[in-house]
């Protein structure tokens, strides 16, 4: 079977800068992959590159059997890639409901479905986008991505900066999205254990390059290795 997403040896950055070097990954339909690594190693850039928002210096991107390398972002979105960006990027001058409907495309996810999934959003439907708490914004960002009925969901640190209760609630939602909706998920997450719990495969980036590509169970079993790959101790041990 062809993978849903095929990233082949891409080098990318912003303008002349290079953030990612020779990164490859594939993702099968229905699977989930966690991208780990310290700050500034290029995780967000990888997401943005899949979405088409960066400068691609080399490499190709395939999605659902098509080459999407030169495609503009809106075509990728319409093709079935949903994006939950790091800063959430809710549209402040739209209401909650408009934030959802503006992203609507035909499919199983409709307004009612998203409201069922995040009842909190239904309560806040007529509030403006800039009047929400951090957790509500995050739900809205995920809901907005779902309204486009994506086959692949890119989530960039969806749990960052949220209260523990909200984090638990969102984690439950994300597990449901996988189990019940069968969504393919690419997840960037600071909290390694949570991410590895959700995703069966993991990718660890360091300084723009892949330093681990395998299943997450291995990493969970070997916390020492995980710490070595993303912790701050690694460099010291090497010296």
């Amino acid at each position: 079977m062809n993978p849903l997403l095929a990233v082949e040896s891409i080098t990318a950055g912003y303008g002349a800068t290079i953030v990612l070097e020779d990164v490859s990954l594939t993702l099968d339909e229905g699977s989930a992959c966690a991208i780990l690594g310290r700050n500034g190693v290029g995780k967000t850039t990888l997401m943005s590159t899949i979405m088409g928002q960066t400068t691609l210096h080399r490499g190709t991107l395939g999605f659902a059997g098509k080459d999407i390398t030169g495609r503009p972002p809106y075509q990728r979105a319409r093709g079935g890639i949903g994006f939950v960006p790091q800063e959430r990027e809710i549209f402040p001058s739209l209401t909650v409901e408009e934030n959802l409907t503006v992203a609507m495309r035909p499919g199983v996810w409709r307004l009612a479905g998203v409201y069922d999934f995040f009842p909190r959003l239904a309560e806040r439907r007529s509030n403006m986008g800039n009047q929400l708490s951090g957790g509500e914004q995050q739900m809205l960002a995920i809901g907005r991505a779902l309204m486009g009925n994506p086959r692949l969901l890119l989530m960039d640190e969806p749990l960052e900066g949220l209260a523990p209760v909200i984090v638990d609630m969102l984690l439950t939602s994300m597990h449901r999205l996988r189990r019940e909706a069968g969504l393919t998920i690419l997840l960037v997450e600071q909290h390694a254990e949570r991410a590895l719990d959700l995703a069966e495969t993991a990718l660890i980036l360091d300084r723009g390059k892949i330093v681990y590509d395998g299943d997450s169970a291995t990493l969970l079993r070997e916390p020492e290795r995980l710490a070595a790959l993303i912790g701050v101790g690694r460099a010291v041990k090497r010296i």
Partner: protein, 251 residues
Amino acid sequence: MAEAALETVALCKSFGALPVARNIDFRLPVGARHALIGPNGAGKTTFINLVTGRLMPSSGRILLGGADVTSLAPEGRVKRGIGRTFQINALFNRLTVLENVLLAVGERHGVAGDMLRPAGARRAVIAEAYALLERLALADDAGRLVRELPYGRQRLVEIAIALGLEPRVLLLDEPAAGVAAAETGLILDIIENLPSDIAVLIIEHDMDLVFRVAQRITVLVQGAVLVEGSPAEIAADERVQEVYLGKDSHG
């Protein structure tokens, strides 16, 4: 106690209700090699902007070489010895490498406001700028326009401009960011060979670089200092591991 080149006392800054710097007490001794690390949004660049005067603190004090500069304008602080580089190159793209550095050296010599004498007659300024380029192995590119250089070389020009100010405190904001791995070594060499009397504060995500350069490390989390210590102490610190590995302290 060694004299502090830079010191902040109970430094606070809020954007509206959002605190981005909480009570930061920070001390950078003369000649120090110090790194500031922390997750995204921890307030590292905010801290730099407070120190350089691009942002005004809500409360607290900033001392440069013992003198209070809290209310001093940014250019005044440069005159007192602060130099910085930018996370994303901020250069004079359509000028040559030499001209880029000349502007900084000229400002430091206090001649840049002169409208009458030709710039080309300031031989001391030019000699100094060129010597600096030689030191950073940029002399061969002196006559090239900055925008024609590869990004990695441009990063060196960033550092050259800051050094042209002869700072006593040098703030390096992710000096290796955006540079291909093969080229980071050169930047590292430059940083390691900086004059020993300059106090260097480096913000960096690249831990290899941090642990190679820094004698001490401060970890910033959500605008507050989590811990400060030697590299070994930081590497062994449980709280730091939690921040980086995302283990839930409460679960």
